[in-house]
Amino acid sequence: MREVRRSAILLRQNVPLAITSRVFHTIVIGLFLLILGLSVPALAAESSSPDTDSPAKPSRIDQDDLELLREANRLLEEEIKLASRPQIYVVLDLGEKLLFIKGRGVELHRFPIKTWRVSGAQSVSGLFRLRARPTVTRPKAVPGHDPSLEPIGLEDMPAEYLLVYDPGLFLVVAPAIREQPWLWAWSRLREWWTRLGAWTRLAASNEPTAAGPVLRLTLSPEAARSLAWSVTDGMPLLIGKITLP
């Protein structure tokens, strides 16, 4: 009788465990299918895209396109304001597919962009400010220990990350699917999650800036790490088609 009771208790204890295990496995399989679902069509799209892995090409902006001329002028006016102050800022030229770090209007460094894509809006243009730079684990100096042995370097910076800008812009930086497929898949999940969060905020607050667009940049891992290193809290970012041919 005691044995039967003990078995019944063990069975009761194991049933929730079994359910939890099943749910866990189901989620893992679901995530695997999600990543597979994300990867296959995008890999095909990226393979057929002429822009992928190619150096930045000059954009074919129609000179007579008044809208583009107005946008370029408006962005230049913004940049002159930025350049008149003692600060470092970032310019993202979507037409030229280049990302510049600048100060006083002078180009300090440039990164080529492999591909870019906006979701949640038809276009992104204007001035934004970074809320916080990507976090990095800093080693602690041990008293009496040579501090030059464990400095942080570019290799410690992330190659995939999300930068949140005000007002309402999410910048997802990720490597190309061919270079780092798992990191790429992770960035897609992050993008999806960001958009989901944005929609939720929009539904809750009804504020248009609560759910800004998501701009996805594909950079080489080195360029992505370098950008993560260079950006600082509150750093201005100017986005748009700035350069005319």
Binding site: I19, G37, L69, I80, R104, L108
Partner: protein
């Protein structure tokens, strides 16, 4: 019975929804609900009727060229210093011309906790932004701060004389604010690495050139 229902519920929607969601995200990258309510760029581009004639392609192009020139004028006239902390490079430029490209050492990014004061710590980063050369010292003497003693596992001395260390900073030290300097180093093998406490180290020869090309007020752009 309950167990079966839960398993069934968990299995079908989670797997299917995640997979379908993934496909939809890729297949319809721009198809988010946000598009429906947002047209920020289009609204900003609307031009009042009285400006339409003045804003013809020719005048807009002329405006563009004028703005470009105005932007170029923001650049410093005299030589300026650019420090790339990611690649540990110091570059002296005049307009677009590179006058010197030197291998430097910049901040290590490490943290040192004060052993006796919990919550007090130093972060050894080279500051980012635009600064100006504020002082130009010849044969500088390093006044060792508290962290330099604590980092070596020593006690902080009470007398000022124990803090003085001549000959460590090289021939010159160019101060750019808040106790940060561009100076020389005894540890030339570490040039090109992030090993400093925030200052910018150079070899003796490069330091001489930077000293010669700079003056008080020379801009220092660090990124």
């Amino acid at each position: 019975m309950r167990g079966r229902t839960k398993r069934g519920l968990a299995k079908v929607p989670v797997t299917v929804l995640l997979a379908v969601g993934g496909f939809l995200l890729v297949v319809c990258p721009g198809g988010s609900p946000l598009e429906a309510g947002e047209e920020p760029a289009a609204q900003e581009r609307q031009v009042p009727p009285n400006r339409k004639q003045a804003d013809g392609p020719e005048s807009l192009r002329a405006r563009y060229a004028a703005l470009k020139r105005q932007l170029e004028q923001q650049a410093p006239d005299s030589p300026y210093i650019v420090v790339d902390t990611a690649r540990n490079l110091l570059i002296v430029k005049r307009r677009q011309e590179v006058l010197l490209m030197a291998i430097a050492s910049t901040g290590s990014g490490t943290i040192l906790d004060h052993p006796d004061r919990p919550g007090t710590q130093w972060v050894f980063d080279t500051p980012r932004g635009e600064f100006k050369i504020q002082s130009r010292l010849t044969n500088p003497v390093w006044v060792k701060p508290d962290w330099a003693f604590l980092e070596e596992g020593l006690k902080v001395p009470k007398d000022q004389a124990s803090r003085l260390e001549p000959g460590i900073l090289g021939e010159y030290a160019l101060g750019f604010g808040k106790g940060y300097f561009i100076h020389g180093t005894l540890y030339t093998r570490l040039l090109g690495k992030n090993v400093t406490h925030g200052c910018i180290r150079l070899s003796d020869e490069d330091l001489r050139t930077v000293h010669r090309l700079s003056k008080v007020g020379t801009p220092v752009m660090i990124f």
